[in-house]
């Protein structure tokens, strides 16, 4: 038997979260990085009116050969698009539109999913069977194809994207919240509250919901990234926000067609989409790291 003479590294101090202070710091840094990127994008979107009218078409905006102006030409900081519109103004407004439907669709899908998951997990029995089999049906629907089909029914607009995304994504939240509710439903503090005659709705709101808030934050962040991708994807495919109104997906579509002669028309909106998705993923990742490993949940182990 050998005994090490080296001084033992002191065990990291556990925090209230059950994590080491160093891991918690790192997790917070990841969240902060995500929030910083998101905040910068929100500021850019809010400042959109300062960059001019995104729909205004100026004769100076295109050359005699019909080509868009390059960055810095004729006073256009990022140049113009194929119709001679200011790319900076269109990108900022496009980002604003994308953020609008991201927030709305996220609130709708996470809200609906939470309500269904919580109710099914708490009441069990027939209610659970009906609700969760409905969730299974929605989870089995292929996202993009059914999204395109649904978009053609609800109309091509921000509202349409919100409806499509909420309809396609609420089931994922419901499945996760249901599992977590089942876990908490058997805990002593929930049983005790019920035994003492606390109404079920109050138990759900006061005792279960606060205990799944980290999970909900995590879901909302990841869901946000998915909403950006699917919403912009719909616009890219012509089923979301239609021209001339700018949206990052429709700008990507226009940029893809201009790749050979004006690659910045693709690169600028693409950078913003990547940054937006990254910001949501960073927040989600950071939040996830704040939870002890034993209690982590992810999309992969529903």
């Amino acid at each position: 038997m050998t005994v090490s003479l080296l001084p033992r590294r002191p065990a990291p101090a556990a925090t209230a979260h059950g994590l080491s202070a160093r891991r918690l710091r790192r997790a917070r840094a990841v969240v902060a990085a995500g929030l910083a990127v998101l905040a910068a994008l929100v500021v850019l979107a809010l400042a959109a009116p300062l960059f001019g009218d995104p729909l205004h078409i100026d004769r100076d905006g295109i050359s005699a050969l019909g080509l868009p102006r390059g960055a810095g030409e004729h006073g256009y900081l990022l140049g113009t698009d194929v119709l001679g519109r200011d790319l900076l103004a269109r990108t900022a407004y496009g980002l604003r539109t994308t953020l609008e439907f991201t927030v709305l669709a996220n609130v709708c899908s996470v809200g609906l999913g939470t309500l269904v998951g919580l109710t099914a997990g708490f009441y069990r029995g027939v209610t659970e069977q009906v609700l969760m089999r409905t969730v299974d049906v929605f989870l089995s629907v292929p996202t993009v194809i059914s999204g395109l089909a649904l978009a053609s029914v609800v109309g091509r607009s921000v509202g349409g994207i919100v409806v499509v995304v909420a309809a396609l994504y609420w089931a994922w939240t419901a499945r996760l919240v249901h599992g977590e509710t089942l876990r908490l439903r058997g805990r002593p503090f929930v049983e005790a509250a019920l035994v003492h005659g606390v109404r079920p709705r109050t138990v759900m709101v006061r005792h279960i919901l606060p205990n799944i808030r980290t999970l909900l934050l995590n879901i909302a962040a990841l869901n946000g990234a998915a909403v950006v991708v699917i919403g912009s994807g719909l616009s890219y495919l012509g089923a979301g926000v239609v021209p001339p109104h700018p949206e990052l997906g429709s700008l990507l579509n226009e940029g893809a067609q201009a790749l050979e002669f004006a690659p910045r028309l693709l690169l600028v909106p693409l950078t913003l989409v990547v940054a937006l998705v990254l910001s949501f993923v960073l927040v989600s990742e950071g939040v996830s790291r704040m939870v002890p490993e034993s209690e982590r949940r992810s999309w992969l182990n529903i």
């Binding site: 729909l55 078409i57 005699a64 050969l65 019909g66 119709l83 239609v242 021209p243 001339p244 004006a262």
Partner: protein, 557 residues
């Protein structure tokens, strides 16, 4: 040892043999068919009417033309899409007359000379050129023309071209199924045809230049039945040797019986279809294609314009006799008022719209094409004036004008519609863009369900009556906006009856002035055709309304 040497020798033998085979295969592969068949340089003789051919020229070789789609039919009475139209006008058939120069008047081709026209302008006597033969070797006679024209009018065939012959006496009765023969057509002898018209019609000489009036052999039509549309027999500079739907190509061989001896200069013409436009452009630059049948695609205009080498070496803009305009539904409660339509013309920046067509259109805010020959233009174009537009709208009580702009998403309209939307918004007009499929748009236009819609017209007859009579006359077959102006109708009818082109143009100039003052739409451009060809194709000419002159081009040896 012996065995070892023997095997080595054998292997050397195989190696040399294989190398020889590979080398010979490579040599064959590298030997282009077109170069192998180019024979010699010679001075050309007379060519059919059209652009001039300066000599000397090389004979032989092959030209490959690319198309997006298969043609509807190579039967000139049936097919009218660009692919079919070029085959009909430039490859397989020879009409009685052909347009001289780039866009000049009719000159004799299968006819021996210009027609004799009676004093009252109603009787045309056409003398056929002797020695004109079908691809099957049979001589063409006056009876072939009578049979061909009667077939075009046959209601069972439902030819798109039938209405072009309605000015012939008895033609309408045949088309309505009331008679079997056209009373206005008479054979005087094998080489003389008499045509009697219902009334003088100055456009009739232009009709005689069209491929659907070229003679067809009835025996081959009967023999081939519906397959005549794929293997037609005509009198043109080329004859079809194969039509392969599977491989998506048709091959045409030089016609040894062609009446303009010594032409065409190339031995073979090949059409390939089913090639996406972007791919066509790449194949043109790589030398796989020599000519793009539909020209340089407008959708790829920015790509082409951003590459000076491509634009200057491969693309030739050719003015067309045609215009493009924004059609307006004159049945709309506000668009009924001419002041509203004038306001929309004042609200439109035609120069900007022209730029966004990348050379395929030339800004021209007038109803008729910009380059009409000998046309005494008196109409005044609209200038952009937003204040004036607002005033006119206010006068007409249309300050809350909301319009629906339907289009089929094709270039350049998906972009132009957005520009128009913004320009009209400045004048206080709200436009909703409604993209739809082509068939849905056609249906919506025909049933008057769109307020605003894209319009263009290629004149196959170089006379503005072709455009005005079809699109702006109250009984015009393509008057989708329901436009009606009695004064315009009267001028068009008078112009049709005029005896000389100068008289006709004077009347049409007045009609254009009226159309400008009481606009049926927003006129913004005169059409160009962006011909695209490989620089190795020499003496390349094309007439936008018909197609490439394959009978006089040649390929560099």
């Amino acid at each position: 040892m012996k065995e070892s040497l023997g095997r080595r020798t054998l292997l050397h033998g195989f190696g040399l043999g294989a190398a020889g085979l590979i080398l010979s295969a490579c040599t064959d592969a590298k030997r282009p068919e077109r170069a192998a068949t180019v024979t010699r340089m010679s001075t050309p003789g007379r060519t059919a009417p059209g652009p001039r051919t300066p000599g000397p020229v090389a004979t032989g070789g092959r030209v490959v033309t690319g198309w997006s789609e298969e043609a509807q039919s190579y039967d000139p009475a049936i097919g009218y899409d660009l692919h079919a139209w070029e085959v009909s006008t430039s490859v397989l058939f020879t009409p009685l007359f052909q347009f001289d120069g780039q866009s000049g008047g009719p000159a004799p081709s299968a006819a021996a000379r210009l027609p004799q026209v009676s004093e009252d302008g109603r009787v045309y006597t056409i003398h056929l050129r002797p020695g004109v033969r079908f691809h099957n070797g049979r001589a063409v006679t006056a009876d072939d023309y009578i049979a061909t024209w009667t077939r075009v009018l046959d209601p069972e065939l439902a030819s798109w071209a039938a209405s072009y012959l309605f000015s012939v006496e008895g033609a309408i009765e045949v088309n309505e199924g009331k008679r079997k023969s056209v009373s206005g057509l008479r054979r005087i002898d094998d080489h003389t045809l008499e045509v009697r018209l219902l009334a003088p019609d100055i456009t009739f000489s232009g009709v005689l230049c069209q491929p659907f009036t070229a003679a067809l052999p009835m025996e081959d039509i009967r023999r081939l039945g519906k397959d005549f549309g794929r293997r037609p027999v005509g009198t043109g500079p080329f004859m079809i040797t194969s039509y392969d739907r599977g491989r998506q190509r048709a091959v045409f061989q030089r016609n040894p019986h062609y009446l303009w001896r010594g032409t065409p200069f190339i031995e073979r013409l090949e059409y390939r279809w089913g090639i996406a436009q972007a791919m066509q452009l790449r194949q043109l630059m790589s030398g796989e294609l020599d000519v793009l049948g539909e020209g340089a695609p407008v959708a790829l205009g920015p790509q082409i314009n951003s590459q000076p080498d491509l634009r200057e070496r491969y693309v030739v803009p050719i003015p067309l006799q045609g215009t493009s305009w924004i059609g307006l539904d004159t049945g709309h409660r506000h668009l009924r008022d001419r002041r509203v339509r004038q306001a929309l013309n004042h609200a439109t920046d035609t120069e900007l719209l022209g730029r966004l067509t990348y050379g395929s259109q030339e800004a021209s805010p007038l109803p008729f094409p910009k380059h009409l020959p000998d046309f005494p233009r008196t109409a005044r174009p609209y200038r952009r004036d937003i204040a004036r537009a607002r005033n006119l709208l206010a006068e007409a009580g249309a300050t809350d004008l909301r319009l629906r702009f339907a289009h089929d998403g094709s270039a350049p309209w998906e972009r132009l519609s957005q520009v128009v939307q913004q320009q009209w918004r400045e004048a206080g007009v709200e436009v909703t863009i409604d993209p739809m499929s082509k068939s849905a748009l056609d249906q919506a236009m025909a049933s008057g369900q769109c307020d605003v819609f894209p319009r263009h017209w290629y004149m196959i007859n170089p006379n503005a009556l072709d455009l005005a009579g079809n699109c702006f006359a109250s009984d015009g077959s393509s008057n989708y906006g329901g436009y009606a102006n009695e004064a315009v109708d009267a001028l068009l009818a008078q112009a049709r009856r005029s005896r000389t082109p100068a008289d006709c143009n004077r009347l049409l100039a007045r009609a254009e002035q009226l159309l400008s003052e009481d606009p049926p739409g927003v006129f913004f451009s005169s059409l160009n055709f962006l011909a695209a060809r490989n620089p190795r194709v020499r003496n390349y000419h094309m007439r936008g309304e018909t197609g490439s002159y394959y009978d006089r081009l040649w390929v560099s040896p």
